[in-house]
Amino acid sequence: MDKLQKRKKLIITAAALAALFIILWVLEQILPANAMLFVVLKKGAIYALVAVSMNLLNGFTGLFSLGQAGFMLIGAYTYAIFTIPLEYHDSVYQYFNGGIIKFTVPVFAALIMAGAAAAIFAYLIGLPVLRLKSDYLAIATLGFAEIIRAFFQWDALGPVTNGSNLLRQYPSFTSVLFPFAVAGVCILLIVLLINSSYGRAFKAIRDDEIAAEAMGINLAKHKQLSFTISSFFAGVGGALLAMYQTTVQANAFKSAMTYEILLIVVIGGLGSVSGSVLSSFLFIAASEWWLRFLDADTYIGAFKVPLLASGFRKVVFSVIIMIVVLFYRNGIMGDKELSAETFGGIRRFLRKRLGRRKEEVTK
């Protein structure tokens, strides 16, 4: 691809992003602030970030890790602990005499600290476990996530973590632009990393470890790097999730959360950043919004629609997921990316179809 085309592509991407933000801003002006759409967009953006960070590990480096929920938990707690305003300490840490952290840091610094804390933990955990292979690595990281969860609920750490009680009253966001901006910047950084020489080394490791090593790639170093960076962004994602939920409790970060993110990643396509982003929004919209009507008793006239009752939404949702998994085994995007070309492709495709139809008509 020559330089000119590359630049053109860059401009198109930038323009598309700018347009997205303008559309979001306009939507925020014209819609009521509590519309379900914004819930989906906020949560979707956060999950997109976490899914992309997991994809960096599972899809691009070929490390099967199931520790994402644990790193999100570290991020969420770090953010919350360091941003709860001092005047609320007494009520939040009511069983622990107001806690022992007596200072706060600005929101952006806290977000970075959240990522850094997760990354440091990941680095330490990575030292022993990254030597493990495939499924063993998965179960070891899953185990670490569970251990982290227990530690954060430990009473002895209560003055810092508030034990098993909720953390709350920390600053959060109201505009949908905030999670989009933070997640957007983070995803952009991940994409830059993937396209760098490091990213090529990651892919080499994924495709064949032994061949990669033979080509002079330092396996341990690159695996460690990928693991740490992925956890950094998972930590930031965790902090965003904490902001979105307005309260945070260690109990929510169970292995089920990791499975959920893994589902998103695989449905989007292992090794496709745009696939992960896309499937996050689809996943959240379907689970939180579009299928809600299945949960309520519905009457058409006097006729009660059968089966509809609390919980039916989730049954339908899991059936949809099974169908996607069974029939789109490479996910909706495979390992392709969504780009200007894809849109060009669809335009050509539609034109061809329509053109043919027109011909048939004129015949």
Binding site: S91, A150, Q153, L166, R168, T247, Q249, W289
Partner: protein, 394 residues
């Protein structure tokens, strides 16, 4: 082909997004929407359903309200917060998006605390029904509550343990990550220690189903009483295993255990179980006995409602509280003279109501001023509640 399908999916998504933008708006017209924020599944599902029953019963009796000569219809929107603090904010969001003017709930303090800010940001007043943790209302302008608080309940139970069982050592078992459980355990401990007793405290992780080790620990600690403020789900396991292990010391718990689940689990055993609660079925006041009679009739007339009550017509205290919360909400709407959330929020602190669970008036914090709790015990022979005492704190 795959790619095309993927693109189609995106197109569908954006179409649905736009379709969704049409957005529902507030109750509007001449209906007032009351949101019911309660668990109907998960740990507290059984209790949450009973609380909803009280609200539905009240709604069946009074479903219109007259404001300024105009009659408004009242509509209930019920969501399930799944007893889970991470699902609660999104359930609350559903109520906010649905345009509720006022919200009732919840059973369980953790979910109430977790969802509080969602309601707060939307400026919607909430009346807590049986969320007893102080944190629910503390520092929240929009959150009110009609039950007593855990510091009170903990003290009552500690007093009862000392007075009734002459307990010197108490074994406290709470659930990790559950604000209600940990909080009440903590207040019980404070009160019990100030009465000169000693406590042994332990927590169990969520999803735990093996309580034998904990019960053995209690026996080894020579405890005179086991205090286990847990959800009913854990409670039935604790009772079962205590029975199997032949535990002799009394089990004591808070308001959550006032449920027919406990009666079922304890029936036929020789355990001593006592709980503190908000209301007693044998209440002899005119309002109380009328409520019990009507509510039972209503349950028996509606098989699906009866099923939600656990298949019997035993009146749970939380049903009575749910009834009171709804009636209080009606009073507040009348006092506000408007269906507007802000007006209701303004009128609520001054609203008073005499309900089946007693007089309700709010203090500066938005908590009901209550100074008595009912203590009930399980009659294990015929699986029924037995009234013990009305306990208050000096």
């Amino acid at each position: 082909m795959k790619k095309v399908l993927a693109i189609l999916l995106i197109v569908c998504m954006s179409a649905m997004l736009l379709a969704g933008c049409g957005g529902k708006n507030a109750g509007g017209g001449d209906t007032i929407k009351i949101g019911v924020f309660e668990p109907s599944s998960g740990d507290n599902g059984a209790g949450g359903k009973q609380e909803v029953l009280g609200i539905q019963f009240a709604h069946s009796q009074v479903n219109t309200v007259e404001i300024g000569g105009k009659t408004y219809k009242i509509e209930l929107q019920i969501v399930d917060n799944e007893s889970s603090t991470d699902k609660a904010p999104s359930a609350a969001q559903t109520l906010v998006s649905g345009g509720c003017n006022l919200v009732l709930g919840s059973y369980g303090s953790g979910v109430s605390i977790a969802a509080s800010d969602v309601f707060g940001k939307a400026g919607i007043p909430v009346i807590g029904i049986s969320c007893t943790n102080p944190q629910v209302t503390l520092g929240n302008e929009h959150y009110f509550r009609i039950c007593y608080l855990d510091p009170f309940q903990g003290t009552v139970l500690a007093n009862y343990a000392v007075d009734e069982y002459s307990a010197k050592t108490a074994y406290i078992l709470t659930k990790l990550g559950d604000d209600y459980s940990v909080g009440l355990g903590n207040y019980f401990k404070e009160a019990f220690e100030s009465l000169g007793g000693t406590v042994v405290e332990e927590t169990f992780p969520p999803d735990n189903s093996d309580f034998t080790a904990y019960l053995t620990n209690a026996v080894k600690a020579n405890a005179d009483v086991i205090f286990a403020p847990t959800s009913t789900e854990a409670a039935s396991l604790i009772i079962e295993q205590a029975h199997a292990q032949g535990i002799t010391m009394p089990l004591l718990a808070g308001d959550t255990w006032d449920s027919s689940v406990i009666l079922d689990a304890a029936k036929g055993s020789d355990l001593t179980i006592a709980v503190s609660t908000f209301f007693d079925e044998g209440d002899e006041s005119a309002a109380g006995s009328k409520f019990v009679k009507d509510f039972k009739a209503w349950l028996n007339a509606n098989p699906d409602k009866k099923a939600n009550n656990g298949g019997n017509d035993i009146v749970a205290a939380v049903s009575a509280l749910g009834y009171d919360a709804y009636m209080l909400a009606i009073e507040a709407i009348k006092a506000a003279g408007s269906a507007d959330s802000a007006a209701i929020l303004k009128a609520l602190p001054g609203t008073t109501y005499t309900g089946v669970t007693g007089d309700i008036a709010f203090d500066a914090n938005g908590d009901a001023i209550r100074n008595v709790a009912f203590i009930k015990s399980v009659n294990t022979a015929d699986g029924a509640w037995q009234f013990e005492a009305i306990q208050s704190v000096k």
